[in-house]
Symmetry: C2
């Protein structure tokens, strides 16, 4: 610190252009260690979802090895992480037939990427593409454990077996996969434990149906950040997928999966105005920097567009980003809280915790990495987006 | 079309990777011509807001000259458009003092960029930076015409004059500026006419207060897409700013500013699944492709995350993107409409009109340009994002 060369090179939070995305790597490391410990003790492997971070630097830290396993939500993620050395991926969005050529190119490059499907049409397309290339594309059948999105009902043996039998006509039936997306709506610890149990039962039941019919099912994959942290039994499960746990966010805090000081991501913003008679402080982080995710608005405590902290990351009690335009945010006291607005002057800086780490991250080109309450920016890690 | 070389080079909508952003340039050209005609007839100039498009190709078409004038919402936009030859810009977000150095560098490069402010602290910072550089930075005082965000109340003569007098101690008082953001909540034509009138009265009143006190006020700037299209009197106004009019969107349609076939932007998506018993079609456009802007949810007709059209851009009656996850969208019949879900098969393509063009555009790296019902992609225009 006393070396003038080092001092000249040091970038601090106060030096950054705003708005920008701040990552507290201490919190991230703690979040990763917490889930890893938990899954090791339960004897299942972790296949982190890289859609939250979209960064090779974060991926390297969150994966259990440099080659994976990992989960991706786009084929651009797959290609990017393949170039970074990841060899074992599941593309966990239902496959469109015209994306199979890209999947095959990745596989030819030595990446074991599997696809996901829940219709016989997709299974036939995968089998046909596999036969045409003389190389089996592995696929997992998506199971609908809670009705929130896609997947085959776990007791729909007819549909499961029709898909499985269509797939093995050239393709490879790698296993079954589910995601308890409805767990984001849980409000109690018991509801989280129940969502995890329902998720496990669904995917294990589907695996059994396939195996009883003589079909292979080596992989039994489930996961969501809430259920990964509240499952009490993972017997029959081979791997857990989770994404947002690496950073956590206000929605996860509202569910009870993390505490406020586990949230590793924030947006640094600068005060640009006041409407004093209204109790408003204007900042240069609007929805373009925070996203329009209002996930906490359905929870008992709405955080508006984000929870406001001082520049060191310490939350102001009940101060939220109550409203947002494209590049303007309005900081106010949470209605009904009786809190006092801090004395924020033009040019002062705040950090704002996001409702949803995946959505907020997606709007930024990279992370400025700090550790704990230090204001020294240790690194800049690029992110990517798009398809 | 019969030339094999040309045929080989032709890219069609069916060839594109999904999701991606489609721009119908015929509709865009029509939207631009409509507002330009209107403002010419009213004798005011157009200073389009380039935050909607963030594209040099669109900017060139929407501006009245290659050098501007234009409005921007970030200094990254300012630098990008300056590099593309734009010489006359207003950075229409309250200036943070630590951004003045960047403004000064742009001005040294020959770009007449003005800043916006509404506090005496900002005015003093602009004046001080101007004196230090020996070059006056021009600033407009933001006027609060409808209480929706920032700005000085138009009848707050004390605050207006204090700011104006602080500014001219080295800086340049360029004029006054307002934005009728509350017009987005209008529900009737009369409410739009009234919002436009209120916007004009506020900014003209503030200009008069400054001039009566002997301060300069050459620019009187106002605008929003709704009020720009419904103002009946713009006397005393020198320029109109508007952004979303270039593309329009479902929020603007809900307000009554455009028709569905004026909306120039859509997201091309592929069918990836069904939940037939629920009447759901799954597509590969989730909120990452559409944004989480639910602007129509407060309007009489909610469009969910978007209105679904066939690949030619023709809307299906009452078929909406009712729900969305990161990379999954759920297409359904609008509740209560009694419409019939079209027979969309795995791999079929749809185009989805967005609630908010600015928010949806921000998630994509570029535009695939088509014209009318043609499926030929004429061009790819890059977009940029970030700060």
């Amino acid at each position: 610190m006393t070396n003038p060369d080092t001092a000249a090179a040091t970038v601090r939070l106060a030096d950054l252009e705003t708005p920008c995305l701040i990552l507290d790597a201490d919190r991230m490391d703690r979040n990763i260690a917490r889930l890893r410990r938990r899954l090791v003790s339960m004897g299942v492997s972790l296949r982190p979802h890289l859609k939250t971070a979209k960064s090779a630097d974060v991926a390297r830290r969150v994966m259990t090895s440099a080659a994976g396993p990992a989960t991706v939500s786009t084929l651009k993620e797959a290609a990017y992480f393949a170039a970074a050395g990841v060899k074992d991926m599941i593309y966990a969005v239902g496959i469109a037939p015209d994306k199979l050529a890209k999947v095959q190119r990745l596989r030819q490059d030595g990446v074991d990427i599997a696809v996901v499907l829940d219709t016989v049409e997709q299974a036939e397309a995968v089998a046909a593409a596999s036969r045409a290339a003389g190389h089996a594309i592995p696929a997992l059948i998506e199971i609908d454990c809670d009705g929130h999105r896609s997947g085959v009902l776990p007791n729909d043996a007819h549909r499961l077996l029709t898909i499985g039998r269509a797939l093995v006509q050239g393709g490879e039936l790698r296993g079954v996969l589910t995601h308890a997306g409805a767990s984001y709506g849980a409000r109690t610890e018991q509801a989280l434990v129940d969502a995890a149990s329902q998720e496990r039962c669904a995917v294990v039941q589907a695996a059994q149906i396939l195996r009883d019919a003589g079909l292979p099912c080596p992989v039994v994959s489930l996961g969501s950040t809430p259920t990964a942290h509240f499952a009490t039994d993972l017997s029959g499960v081979t791997e857990v997928r989770a994404g947002v746990f690496v950073f956590f966010d206000l929605v996860m805090m509202g569910i009870g999966v993390c505490k406020v000081d586990d949230i590793a991501l924030s947006v640094l913003a600068t005060v640009i105005g006041h409407q004093r008679e209204k109790g408003w402080v204007l900042v240069d982080a609007g929805w373009m920097a925070m996203s329009q995710d209002r996930g906490t608005s359905k929870q008992p405590v709405s955080q508006g567009y984000g929870l406001v902290c001082d520049i060191s990351g310490k939350p102001y009690a009940d101060i939220i980003l109550a409203d947002a335009n494209q590049e303007h945010g309005i900081v106010t006291v949470r209605p009904g809280s009786g809190a006092t607005l801090p004395d924020l002057k033009i040019g002062d800086r705040v950090r704002i915790l996001p409702n949803h780490a995946c959505a907020t991250g997606a709007l930024h080109a990279g992370y400025k990495v700090v550790r704990g309450t230090s204001d020294v920016v240790e690194a800049s890690w690029p992110r990517f987006g798009g398809w």
